[in-house]
Symmetry: C2
Amino acid sequence: MATKSRENPAPVEVDSATRERILLEAARLFRHHGYAATTLREVADASGIKAGSIYYHFESKDQILGEVLDKGIQVVSAAVQQRVEALPAEATARQRLAAAIEGHLWGMLHHGDFTSANIRIYGQIPAAAKNRHRKIRREYADYWDSLLEDALQRGELRADTSTAMIRLFVIGALNWTVEWYNPQKGSFQDFVKQITAIVFDGTFVGEPA
Amino acid sequence: MATKSRENPAPVEVDSATRERILLEAARLFRHHGYAATTLREVADASGIKAGSIYYHFESKDQILGEVLDKGIQVVSAAVQQRVEALPAEATARQRLAAAIEGHLWGMLHHGDFTSANIRIYGQIPAAAKNRHRKIRREYADYWDSLLEDALQRGELRADTSTAMIRLFVIGALNWTVEWYNPQKGSFQDFVKQITAIVFDGTFVGEPA
DNA sequence: GTCTATATGAAGATAGAC
DNA sequence: GTCTATCTTCATATAGAC
């Protein structure tokens, strides 16, 4: 006996302001104190509510962890794909990888609490949480591998190292910049330009000895 | 009224086997679960003793943390300095930096629990523990800066990026290899050669576009 | 939707026997 | 040097009022 006649009932509000606030504060606290050391009381305090109220929005601390981890990859992945797909079809491998690097850095630095939390705590969380998060990580790695394979086939990428190892090295190096990047020491544009130059052409000048 | 006549009394045993075992197991657990999530009961279990016995060797969990952190830097720093100082005076900047990179990677991968624990948890520990550990980190960074400044003055290092930024990028990239290096996929020598080539000359071939 | 109050478990650290 | 037993504190999660 539904008395409602609306065709478009309001969807379950999965991203109310309070819910988003909890996720953001949780990411910030996970980043700076770790997952286990962060208490739901702290998350609640930072979010302007009481601890018990968190359970209206989330089933458990574990569920909050999962959403924080996933978002840490999603924001970066979305920025990368958007930039790469905006390029013309005739773009060179250098241009495509430069777009990916810019997107990765931009996504990381604009959602630093989610990405840094992800990077810092991924190695420390329970195996079950890791397993649930693994797929989304794998997909992002695959996207990079496809970019690198393409660059290799065009003869632009160095061929003495596997693309998997290049991906691990480059993403690892990029990821760590979120730990030390200081926006007060220069513009984001300059930062991207310098990081990209080092990744592409290295730290030394001249020919290999 | 000392009745001992020995000139060389046994020193306080600061590195008994049990004490070293506790440090090693603590490093391993800090690495994989984080500092807060690791309980002294787990450390004791892994060390083959009971939780209360830890307090015979250490004053607190905090003291164990401090020693684990310091050792994570010391083992790497010692390996780097040893290799650089073994070079002849006429070594090029490339040779000196290559020795530093090899030492850094060797130290990291041969003491992985200490270095990975350091890298993973440094951003998450209480401020007091960070402050106590800061000096030893600063000294290692200074050593790298001196190597890079030397390379810059000889005109071998790229000049469009500050040595501080190059250091942060390179050490960050090297540090993260401990998270993914797989000794079953090739020899350590080959690994070092490939990483060094990327750091020196980049991931792309040919001239910058 | 948010609150207060609380059940239940486990942490770091200490005391004192052996 | 290591043990057992315990003090004290604080965590996640739940129940039910508002």
